[in-house]
């Protein structure tokens, strides 16, 4: 393949710090969703975020690509601070890939079109090159034969892998995952997690909200535990599971690990 090799590796970060959240607060009306979030994610780090439902995990990672707006503090993504500057928001979104719980594929476009749309119109890649890259990523997520189908014709696991490939086609520096496996039937969880493990091995900087604790143990550099809009505890996987520092963490782990 005549592809530049650089197009297929995670794009290099400009700075050593991928994401820096400093004193971030967010409110929905009166409701204080995020309270003083401080988190620094360095290059190639894999962060797993867990916590009870409604604790603000989704809100936090959605602030990183400005799907949600924060009201206080600052979020700096690879040297670019997210403020109301639309240009900068677009810049950050181009460099940050996101995978959603419900895939959010475009149902009226084929798999291949789903993958090439943004590279062609946002990255201004020639169509042929975009398609080559798309086929490469489809191979990586092991479904090149589905390129011509519509998302509705695929299984959940296949759709989620297409969604991962779609994010990768934009050649992101950072990947965000919001419970990528929780809408899947159990037998499809593994195929998606395998893809994510592979991505981690390639050195991608990842922030992943998930309750797949075996994945967290295997892949994460650090695990972030959130509750009621706060980061309660951050630790390496071994210490996090074997020796949780906080009562709330212990309670959560006892519920989730049975």
């Amino acid at each position: 393949m005549a592809l530049a090799n650089s197009a297929l590796k995670p794009a290099p970060l400009k700075t050593g710090v991928a994401v820096d959240m400093i004193g971030v607060h967010k409110w929905y009306g009166d409701f204080h969703v995020l309270r003083d979030i401080n988190l620094r994610v360095t290059k190639s780090e894999r962060i797993v975020i867990c916590g009870p439902s409604g604790s603000g995990k989704s809100t936090m990672i959605r602030c990183i690509n400005r799907l949600e707006e924060h009201q206080k503090g600052s979020i700096i993504v690879d040297g670019t601070e997210l403020a109301n500057d639309l240009k900068k928001i677009d810049e950050v979104r181009r460099d940050v890939g996101m995978v959603f719980q419900h895939f959010n594929l475009f149902p009226h476009l084929t798999v291949l079109e789903n993958l090439t749309l943004a590279p062609i119109w946002v990255r201004k890649q020639p169509k042929k090159e975009a398609e080559e890259i798309a086929m490469h990523y489809l191979q990586r997520v092991k479904i090149p034969e589905q390129a011509g189908k519509f998302p509705g014709q695929l299984s959940g696991g296949q759709q989620q892998r297409v969604a991962i490939a779609r994010a990768l086609c934009m050649n992101p520096k950072i990947m965000l995952f919001d419970e990528p496996t929780s809408a899947l039937d159990p037998e499809m969880v593994k195929e998606v997690l395998d893809t994510m493990v592979q991505l981690a091995e390639d050195g991608m900087t990842m922030l992943c909200v998930t309750h797949e604790m075996s994945f967290a143990r295997q892949v994460a550099n650090r695990i972030v535990f959130m509750d009621e809009g706060q980061i309660v505890e951050v630790n390496e996987p071994k210490a996090f599971f074997d020796n949780p520092q906080h009562e709330r963490t212990r309670l959560f782990l006892s519920q989730i690990l049975h």
Binding site: R93, G97, F100, N104, A118
Partner: protein, 391 residues
């Protein structure tokens, strides 16, 4: 719990009292449902109310349909060259519709006062329009993107040149005051649709915009136009439009009506499109944002294609309404199809007791055929979309 604990083995062998020991006697077989009788029993005579309604409807049909057929077909006069053929004669005591009159007047009904030597241009216009509509209506047509360009850009431009004329290429000018009949009806309806859809989309997007000024303008426009009758809009367009443009420009009477009809229809289209936009899940916007698409790209590639597709049936329904509403343009002095029928009534060469009725019957059939056709198409698309959802 104690009940179960005290149950003896013997009782268990017999089984508890609430379990029936004997099988039930079979129920009588259901009344035969197949065949015409079964169908009628199920659909027409299934209850007192249903039976009553069936009888009332049957009576209405018997009362209306035979005389209608008698007038329109059996007693109708098909050939003839003047009023004498459609008058009562000793050999023909009852005279039905005078179709001979319609055949004689058909060019007038179609072209109005368009110069006879130039009428081929109108025919070409009809042909181009038919191609465009057919292409648009065919959901799996090849190159629908080109079709859009054809329908919304090429067709309007070509029609303008054809119908108005352009002397440099040898097409003499024809003033819009000479246009009439089906031509005007079709022009008003298609201009209304071609312009109202894009304007309606912009208004619908405006109504959902985050910018307060844009939103306010869109809401005010939509609510204002929807709050007044078309006749008012037409009057306003024909009286007020000249106030806004320089005197020398003095917009053409037909143009004023076209602007009025387009703006009126746009307000309705906006609401139809808005309903479609609302049906698009939030996840689609987020998916688009997350891959870096901007607002207009998201709308163009992700939201509108999906929203418009589910909106087709409603767009067609709005179009049906618009098509019928075009008859109101006569109020600002425009000679549409219904007006030509109205004018034909007064022709002394065809003055008979049945001329007016025949003319109106013809107009009714004309509108019925077009509107029913569009309505069927809307149904077809609806069924197709429902089938698509099950995929």
């Amino acid at each position: 719990m104690s009940d179960i604990a005290t149950t003896t083995d013997a009782e268990l062998m017999e089984g508890p009292a609430f379990v029936r020991g004997q099988p039930l006697a079979p129920l009588p077989p259901p009344i035969k449902e197949g065949g015409a009788v079964g169908w009628m029993r199920k659909n027409l005579f299934s209850g007192v109310l249903n039976i009553a309604l069936t009888i009332v409807c049957a009576a209405l049909i018997v009362w209306i349909v035979p005389p209608l057929i008698k007038f329109l077909v059996i007693d109708a006069v098909w050939n003839g060259s003047g009023r004498a053929d459609c008058l009562q004669q000793p050999g023909q005591p009852e005279i039905g519709a005078c179709w001979a009159y319609v055949f004689d007047k058909i060019s007038f009904f179609t072209y109005g006062f368009y110069p006879i030597g130039e009428r081929w241009r109108v025919d070409v216009f009809f042909a181009l329009l038919t191609i465009g509509v057919g292409w648009m209506a065919w959901l799996n047509a090849p190159r629908r993107d080109i079709c859009m360009i054809y329908f919304f850009i090429v067709l309007p431009a070509a029609s303008l040149i054809l119908l108005l004329g352009w002397p440099p290429i040898g097409l003499p000018k024809v003033a819009t005051t000479q246009w009439g009949g089906v031509l005007v009806t079709v022009v008003v309806a298609s201009v209304g649709i071609v312009f109202s859809l894009p304007i309606g989309i912009v208004l619908a997007l405006g109504r959902r915009s985050k910018m307060p000024a844009v939103r306010l303008f869109s809401v005010m426009f939509i609510e204002f136009v929807r709050g007044v009758p078309l006749i008012t809009v037409l009057f306003m367009a024909s009286v007020m439009l000249p106030l806004f443009v320089p005197d020398t420009w003095s917009p053409d009477k037909l143009l004023r009506a076209l602007v009025g009809v387009s703006l009126f229809a746009a307000a309705y289209m906006a609401e139809v499109v808005r309903a479609g936009l609302q049906a698009i899940p939030k996840g689609q916007f987020e998916g688009a944002m997350a891959v870096g698409l901007g607002y207009w790209q998201t709308m163009r590639f992700i939201v509108l294609p999906q929203a418009l597709k589910i909106t087709i049936p409603n767009i067609v329904n709005t179009t049906i309404g618009l098509f019928k509403d075009t008859t109101l343009v006569f109020i600002v002095g425009i000679f549409d199809f219904l007006m030509t029928v109205e004018a034909g009534r007064g022709d002394p060469a065809w003055a008979t007791p049945v001329t007016s009725t025949t003319g109106y019957a013809f107009a009714a059939i004309f509108y019925l055929v077009f509107c029913y056709g569009m309505s069927r198409y809307a149904r077809f698309v609806e069924a197709r979309l429902a089938a698509g959802d099950r995929r």
